[in-house]
């Protein structure tokens, strides 16, 4: 890792703001930069150089609704160059995928990898890194600052076809903190996994989790309605905070306001730079939070878990909010008793943006089977749901929800060459990810298993 040059604070902020926010968010004319737009831990991810590669004779699902039989995918310089038939690529490395399927890499929009440490120990029971629990509002947390890059789950995700994942803080606080988008590549630092320029989200939680925890701790909201009031209070402060900063940035005041990490995140939400990812199960609560967000002026990217999403699918569609669901988890908590297996299919049928998620390292290895199960339930209920459509639940839909649809989630010219060569039908329990490409480079090859992670060295017995 190159050492960062020491920069003075304004210059440093300016550099970071440029990195995180792109040209549209350059510093104010006077050189001042809003702290709420800074990137504190810039990405150092660089894909390895990879030769131009042509995959032939594959069943291709492009993630955008199309299926090509005996199809070809050409990639080079880390991007998809073309998909189709009879592509010409002299000198390209050729991969014969006869009998195999090719899809965009899986995007897991809801992961706790790197913070839900494997193996779990008493240390995690005492002080888990999944969520900061010191306050019901930990909006100032950046979950990336607590991620173990060497967590075993990352390699398992990669070997299962996951090319991008969003790690979110856990759902105990109302405001959990900022999310981060990673490629699950072998690395010693989180920065080296961090997808450059990917937007952060803010994890929020409704319902049982925050209210019951705060009852236990004797602070914060203790009811569903209290959670809503708590959010209004928090944003009222953030609005004042942001106004102070905006006056300073505009040169109307001389002294910079005091920086507050929590309010920074909420200000960035009010600025429209960070969208909310909300843990929420019940239809009635989702409907309230939709109005709440509209009233306050922040954007909801998706409701996560959303086991009653099917009950209000048209509402989700009309508000442009995605639903992040399991195939079949239900019943284990009161707010989940109305879960049905057709949830994804019914939201999809309403025109909604629906996707699968892992929420844990084990399920993060079988998202393809999750989608297969959810689609099969939908087909039994009479919906068509061909594979070329269902693959969007793992690829283009999460890309859209994460604000990355212009970069990943589909096999289209110019998009990142993140894709999987599957040994067969990607939705089958028997299928393995044979090859996993990220930015055009092979990052997993089933015929050449990677070396054991550091943790396993000298530990695991062999048969």
């Amino acid at each position: 890792m190159p050492r960062a040059r020491r920069l003075g604070r304004p210059a440093l902020l300016a550099a970071m703001a440029a990195l995180v926010a792109g040209p549209a968010l350059a510093a104010a004319a006077n050189g001042r930069v809003a702290p709420y737009l800074a990137d504190l831990f810039p990405s150092t991810y660089t894909p390895p150089a990879a030769p131009e590669t042509l995959i032939v004779h594959a069943i291709v699902l492009d993630g955008a609704g199309h299926r090509l039989d005996d199809g070809q995918v050409l990639m080079g310089s880390g991007k998809i160059i073309a998909i189709g038939h009879d592509l010409k690529a002299p000198g390209a490395r050729l991969i014969d995928a006869r009998g195999r399927w090719v899809t965009p890499g899986i995007i897991d929009i809801h992961s706790h990898d790197g913070t839900y440490h494997l193996p779990q120990t008493a240390i995690d029971a005492e002080a888990s890194d999944v969520a900061e629990l010191s306050d019901p509002n930990t909006a100032g947390v950046w979950i990336e600052s607590g991620i173990d890059a060497e967590d075993l789950a990352f390699a398992h995700a990669l070997a299962s076809g996951v090319t991008t994942l969003q790690v979110l803080p856990g759902s105990t606080p109302v405001f959990g903190g900022r999310t981060v988008v990673l490629h699950p590549v072998p690395a010693l630092t989180v920065q080296a996994m961090k997808m450059p320029g990917a937007p952060q989200g803010e994890k929020m939680a409704c319902g049982e989790n925050p209210k019951t925890y705060d009852v236990e701790k004797g602070r914060g909201p203790t009811s569903a309605a209290g959670e809503v009031t708590f959010i209004r209070d928090a944003f009222a402060k953030a609005r004042t905070y942001k106004a102070k900063w905006d006056r300073y940035l505009a040169g109307e005041t001389a002294d910079a306001p005091e920086d507050d990490p929590r309010l920074d995140t909420l200000a960035a939400m009010l600025e429209g730079k960070i969208a909310a990812h909300i843990h929420c199960y019940r239809a009635s609560e989702m409907a309230i939070w939709l109005d709440l967000a509209r009233d306050i002026g922040f954007r909801i990217a998706a409701f996560h878990h959303a086991v009653e999403g099917y009950k209000i699918a048209p509402l989700l569609v009309s508000r442009g909010v995605c639903a992040v669901v399991w195939s079949d988890w239900w019943g284990f908590k009161v707010e989940a008793v109305d879960g049905i297996r057709e949830n994804a299919a019914f939201i999809d049928a309403a025109g909604g943006c629906v996707m699968m998620h892992s929420d844990g390292p084990f399920l993060g290895q079988w998202l393809n089977v999750e989608a297969g199960k959810a689609a099969a339930a939908g087909r039994r209920a009479g919906l068509a749901l061909p594979p070329e459509h269902v693959i969007a639940w793992l690829t283009s839909n999460p890309a859209k929800a994460m604000g990355l649809a212009d970069r990943i989630g589909a096999l289209a010219p110019g998009l990142d060459a993140d894709l999987v060569v599957w040994s067969g039908d990607p939705f089958s329990v028997y299928t393995h990810a044979d090859l996993v490409f990220i930015d055009g480079a092979v990052r997993f090859d089933r015929s050449q298993p990677p070396p054991a992670p550091d943790f396993q060295l000298g530990r695991a017995p062999t048969p």
């Binding site: 494997l118 193996p119 779990q120 120990t121 075993l152 789950a153 398992h156 099917y310 009950k311 699918a313 079949d328 988890w329 239900w330 019943g331 284990f332 908590k333 009161v334 008793v337 109305d338 879960g339 049905i340 297996r341 057709e342 019914f346 049928a349 309403a350 844990g360 390292p361 084990f362 399920l363 290895q365 079988w366 089977v369 297969g372 199960k373 689609a375 099969a376 039994r380 209920a381 009479g382 919906l383 939705f427 089958s428 329990v429 028997y430 299928t431 393995h432 396993q456 530990r459 695991a460 017995p461 048969p463």
Partner: protein
């Protein structure tokens, strides 16, 4: 009921007493007949009569054309908590375990089984017709007594209570027994010793650690009439379990067994079955450092009897049990286990391990006619039954979930 069948063959039977013939089935009998293509499965009086290739349907029989679909015995879960928790995170609906109070080995889940649980029809609609329901971890190493249930509509019924005793070892129990897993083994051995002395009339009542109800509950374990199911993952604990079985002459079954593959030869020699989770490929705890996908394949190859439990973060211990164990079986196949051995691990093998009624988990002649017709490969979790017979009668596939589905289905 052979006379009835003969009568039916001679003259048309009334609908009430008709036999059922499932024709054109791709049958997996899990018994002597093995896999039978284009099979005719004949059911009468609640029992399987025969499974034969191209066999004729008896005259008057209710004929069901499977159209080449797979037909299997009803599935059996070797270890589930169906009917013991309705909303597992709402403690007032959760009767899986006792975390305090006087009962250890004597805790009996039979008394808590809820035949009206909405989880039962869901499991049956996924092909499950029998299960062993077991207690969760208690205040000491003994969790309590498990029961066999049969998913007879509308919900289910306890078929045999006190069918197995469960115990927990390893890191999971260490904090409950003073801080070391060693204490759990000491307590288990001591309890078995006290139980034996009680049975022999030699127990000194002033020098016992265990209550009389707990020691009485252990009598069938001592007698070898029910197994002691020991939850253990780490190789060291598995060795302890093997030693315990030898020293105490009790029938031991392992639940978990993440590192069991590393002791496959020893477990096979000791005839100790393993109920494992084929999805457990990563170490959730330090006891599972050696967890790997091919655990099932390696154990089966060595001759260890195996059955499956799929935890799914604990969700699948109660919810979607029928689907989850098929998923696990499919994953075991994807990682090297022969197909029929995987199917056996969720049908005939758990029946054999726990001594379910003769023929359970098979389509052998005389077996209870718990039969499932599948819309695809049953080991694909995306597949589902098109029909489930329990005791020869078709069970409704309506669940609380299908009622919600029908209420909210998009209009087409």
């Amino acid at each position: 009921m052979k006379w009835l069948l003969a009568l039916c063959l001679a003259a048309a039977c009334g609908a009430a007493s008709a036999a059922t013939a499932i024709i054109h089935a791709h049958a997996f009998t899990m018994a002597g007949a093995g896999e039978v293509q284009d099979a005719t499965v004949i059911i009468d009086d609640g029992r399987v009569v025969s499974v034969t290739a191209h066999g004729p349907a008896p005259a008057g029989a209710r004929v069901i054309d499977a159209g080449g679909r797979v037909v299997t015995p009803g599935l059996i879960s070797a270890a589930t908590q169906l009917g013991l928790a309705e909303v597992s995170l709402a403690a007032d609906t959760d009767d899986r375990a006792v975390s305090s109070g006087p009962l250890g080995a004597a805790f009996d889940v039979d008394y808590a089984f809820n035949a009206n649980s909405v989880l039962l029809p869901v499991a049956r609609a996924d092909g499950l017709t029998r299960a062993l329901i077991y207690p969760g971890m208690g205040a000491g190493p003994f969790s309590g007594q498990a029961a066999m249930i049969r998913l007879i509509p509308p919900g289910g019924t306890v078929e045999r209570s006190r069918a197995a005793e469960f115990a927990v070892t390893g890191q999971a129990i260490a904090s409950k027994v003073g801080g070391s897993r060693a204490a759990a083994w000491g307590l288990i051995r001591n309890a078995l010793g006290e139980a034996r002395r009680l049975g022999e009339g030699k127990l000194d009542p002033r020098a016992r650690l265990n209550s009389l109800p707990d020691l009485e509950a252990l009598q069938p374990v001592i007698a070898g009439t029910i197994p002691l199911v020991i939850q253990a993952d780490r190789a060291s604990d598995l060795r302890q379990a093997i030693d315990l079985a030898r020293d105490e002459k009790v029938r031991v079954v392992i639940l978990g067994g993440a590192e069991a593959w590393s002791l496959a030869t020893e477990l096979a020699a000791a005839k100790i079955p393993v109920i494992l989770d084929p999805q457990a490929d990563m170490p959730q705890t330090y006891d599972q450092i050696g967890a790997r996908y091919d655990n099932a394949a390696l154990l089966a190859k060595a001759g260890v009897p195996i059955a499956f439990q799929v935890s799914g973060n604990g969700v699948y211990l109660s919810y979607n049990v029928g689907e989850a164990i098929r998923w696990g079986a499919g994953m075991a196949v994807a990682n090297g286990l022969p197909y029929q051995e995987a199917l056996a691990a969720i049908t005939s093998a758990p029946a054999a391990i726990f001594g379910f009624p003769t023929g359970a988990g098979t389509l052998a002649p005389g077996a209870d006619a718990d039969v499932v017709i599948w819309d695809g490969d049953p080991l694909e979790p995306a597949s589902a039954p098109t029909a489930v017979f329990v005791g020869g009668e078709p069970a409704p596939l309506i669940t609380r979930q299908t009622l919600l589905r029908d209420r909210y289905a998009p209009r087409r």
